[in-house]
């Protein structure tokens, strides 16, 4: 048969992966022989065999490609593959975490003291559901005064979740693992006992001996965590028929548990008739609940964690640790105090934006500093958590739409546009050092509703600062972008919230050719008659977007100590800064809807008039 192959086309191409290309290569190969000439017709027997061969080759190629992809953390897609590779880097994906808060408890009961056991229940309402928060340790409260029948406990930590116990019997086999049956476990609450003895989580393998009572935990199949023990060399091994008890909380809400504010005692405790719970000072709502780590996060965090070796040294370490371990942080910026002018040696500054809201509460800052940073950072370093600076963009949008092409009302279309703006802000901006691109936002607005024909947007920048009352103070505000000033004598592009100065109330800032002035605003009262009570209180650098002022502020009409400064930028694309979060205030942005029919009628009227 080999003599039938008469041409040089019998070199089979082996680089193709696609079914049709593989089959085509096989046909090319067969074209070099005369034994079977019917291979190129869909109904022929040989063609059907070629189908089988090409399908099999394609199947194997696909399988091998997937296999190779799943072997590397960069290209793996299955969570189990990513987790397995992360395991080699000593990384355990973080579990779901229950939201926590500190409560002050006022207890009524009997006896000289009362004991509030671990896992005492408090309930709270979130949405339409009622959820449980549990105390994390057993506490004893002494009577406030003799025979008073009241007891006080301050700063009691409660954590969202349902208390659960799983019991196993060891078979004594090699590599025996005990799977926690729910994927919603909050690993921070896991307590393990073996044969009645409490075991602790293994943290430093160099300190573990053959008799160390430690357990290990890893993510196993179906996203469930597995607990396992030592092998008798590194950690004490369980013996046949040993009873293993795992106690843990199941977090029913994860990150959705954040924000709870009112808590009600919902348990029965010996000697206690009632407990009134109020939120401890420094807390405003429950915090730090988070979802289990996603595959994408594991892919990003596992190599970073390996580089950090469980220590926080570089600024990237701080960033990775906070983003990884603190679920309600959206963006973090860290800088070395030595880079400041004047330098502050031994300090690391951390600016963090929470997922909801603009600033972290004092309790959240304390928790991050105490739990996440101090235990791993260098002893001599003092981490300081500050609020991030925001550069807020206020939009003035004119949106032309055709009401004949939508069933939505004008208000509905406006709401869609406002949502599109908010969505662009949350997904593209809201981080440090991000760039606002006007054309992208305009396209987003145009694509948000089918009836929208076009849109035009003008921008105003807003920065806010806190006033230092009753003293002449320097204020330097930077807008990070050039400000609009095409020529001398151009109208003012700077304005501000009203504030009070000696002798005048409700005055505002404005600019003229590089100088900053104060003028009386609406409702301004004064002892004098001057419309411009203070001239030249500072300078404005249009090219760099910097306003430098000296002000003696005596009061504010608003209850919040915040003065907002508004300016018009020179460009429509805005660059961010490393220390500033750029965001769009979609709520206070103006959206004007123009009906396409109005535009057409207006043009027709103009055209008609022009004919005469």
């Amino acid at each position: 048969m080999s003599s039938a192959y008469t041409t040089t086309t019998n070199k089979l191409k082996i680089t193709e992966l696609d079914f049709d290309k593989i089959k085509s290569a096989l046909k090319t190969y067969l074209s070099g022989q005369t034994e079977f000439s019917g291979y190129d017709f869909e109904g022929s027997g040989l063609n059907i065999l070629l189908d089988v061969l090409a399908y099999n080759t394609h199947y194997n190629a696909f399988y091998i490609n997937m296999l190779a992809s799943e072997m590397f953390i960069d290209s793996a897609t299955l969570r189990s593959s990513i987790v397995s590779i992360a395991k080699q880097l000593g990384y355990t994906p973080s579990s779901r975490k229950g939201s926590t808060i500190n409560l002050d408890l006022t207890i009524t009961g009997s006896g000289s003291s009362v004991r509030i056991p671990k896992n005492t229940k408090f309930t709270t309402s979130i949405g339409s559901g009622v959820y449980t928060f549990l105390t994390t340790e057993t506490l004893v409260a002494d009577q406030d005064s003799l025979e008073s029948g009241t007891y006080t406990l301050n700063g009691v930590v409660v954590r969202e979740g349902l208390f659960t116990t799983s019991t196993f019997t060891a078979e004594g086999i090699e590599n025996e693992k005990f799977t926690i049956p729910s994927a919603d476990v909050d690993l921070d609450t896991l307590a393990v006992s073996l044969g009645g003895e409490t075991y602790s989580k293994a943290t430093d393998i160099t300190q573990i001996t053959a008799n160390s009572k430690v357990y290990f935990v890893q993510e196993g199949r179906q996203e469930k965590y597995e607990v396992y023990f030592g092998d008798g060399v590194v950690g004490k091994a369980p013996e046949t028929a040993d009873q293993i008890q795992l106690q843990y909380n199941l977090s029913m809400l994860g990150s959705e548990g954040n924000g709870a504010k009112t808590f009600t005692f919902a348990d029965s405790v010996t000697g206690v008739t009632a407990i009134t719970a109020t939120i401890s000072s420094g807390f405003t709502r429950s915090i730090a609940g988070s979802e289990r780590e996603t595959a994408a996060n594991i892919r990003a965090n596992a190599p970073r964690e390996f580089q950090m070796q469980k220590r926080i040294v570089t600024t990237d370490d701080y960033r990775a640790r906070i983003l990884n371990d603190y679920g309600s942080i959206e963006a973090v910026r860290v800088w070395d105090g030595a880079e400041l002018d004047p330098p502050e040696y031994g300090r690391v500054y951390i600016a963090a934006k929470p997922t909801s809201g603009l600033k972290l509460s004092a309790a959240e800052k304390y928790r991050i500093k105490r739990e996440l940073i101090k235990s791993r950072s260098m002893v001599t370093i003092d981490p300081i958590i500050v609020d991030p600076d925001y550069l807020t963009i206020l939009l003035d949008c004119s949106v032309t739409y055709d009401p004949r092409q939508t069933t939505r009302t004008e208000d509905d279309v406006k709401a869609v546009v406002r949502n599109a703006i908010a969505n662009y802000s949350s997904t593209t901006l809201n981080k440090f050092d991000e760039i606002y691109r006007n054309s992208v936002l305009t396209r987003t607005i145009d694509d948000s509703e089918i009836s929208i024909k076009n849109s035009a947007t003008s921008l105003t920048l807003m920065r806010s600062f806190a006033a230092r009352f009753r003293s002449l103070a320097n204020y330097m505000i930077t807008f990070e972008n050039p400000l609009h000033h095409p020529h001398d004598g151009h109208q003012s592009i700077l304005t501000s919230d009203p504030f009070n100065i000696p002798g005048f109330t409700n005055v505002q800032l404005f600019d003229l050719d590089g100088q900053v002035f104060i003028r009386r605003g609406l409702g301004s009262e004064s002892t004098g008659t001057s419309k411009f009570p203070r001239a030249n209180v500072g300078t404005i650098d249009y090219a760099n977007g910097v306003v430098d002022m000296q002000l003696n502020i005596t009061g504010l009409p608003r209850s919040v100590n915040e003065i907002r400064l508004y300016a018009r930028p020179d460009r429509k694309d805005l660059t961010g800064a490393k220390t500033v979060i750029t965001t769009i205030d979609s709520t206070n942005s103006t959206i004007r809807m123009i009906k396409e029919t109005d535009v057409i009628e207006s043009q027709q009227v103009q055209g008609y008039a022009g004919g005469y």
Partner: protein, 129 residues
């Protein structure tokens, strides 16, 4: 009458040649007729990645035995041969319902391209279950 071009194909029955023991082959008109039969018995999605190939005529076996079904069978047979068997020029497709046997007698009359002899093949289409 010899064909100008010869066609050789594997016999998917995979029977052994009585003399040589090699797998037997189909040649010329036999190869083409076998190809036509394969196409007729092939359903859509039988061929990997090419769901359009095939006649899908077996679906008609579960329909009421009416004139309309017979006509649809004819149309499907014509389409599959015209679309996927360029070696054949159809003369006639006759589909005859045989109610007593719950099946259709299908008779194809065709020319093989470049051949002057008209050929006919007849087969019976019936349900297995």
């Amino acid at each position: 009458m010899p064909l100008i071009k010869t066609y050789n194909d594997l016999d998917l029955d995979f029977s052994a040649h009585p003399n040589t023991g090699n797998i037997s082959t189909k040649k010329d008109a036999d190869a083409v007729v076998r190809s036509v039969r394969n196409l007729l018995l092939m359903n859509h999605f039988d061929k990997p990645f090419h769901p359009e190939v095939g006649s899908n005529i077996t679906r008609h076996l579960f329909e009421p035995m009416t004139v309309a079904t017979t006509l649809r069978l004819e149309t499907d047979i014509k389409n599959v041969i015209n679309n996927f068997e360029p070696r054949v020029r159809l003369s006639e497709v006759r589909v005859q319902a045989v109610e007593s046997e719950n099946g259709y007698k299908i008779s194809l009359t065709f020319f093989i391209v470049n051949e002057e002899v008209e050929r006919q093949t007849v087969f019976f289409l019936e349900r297995y279950r």
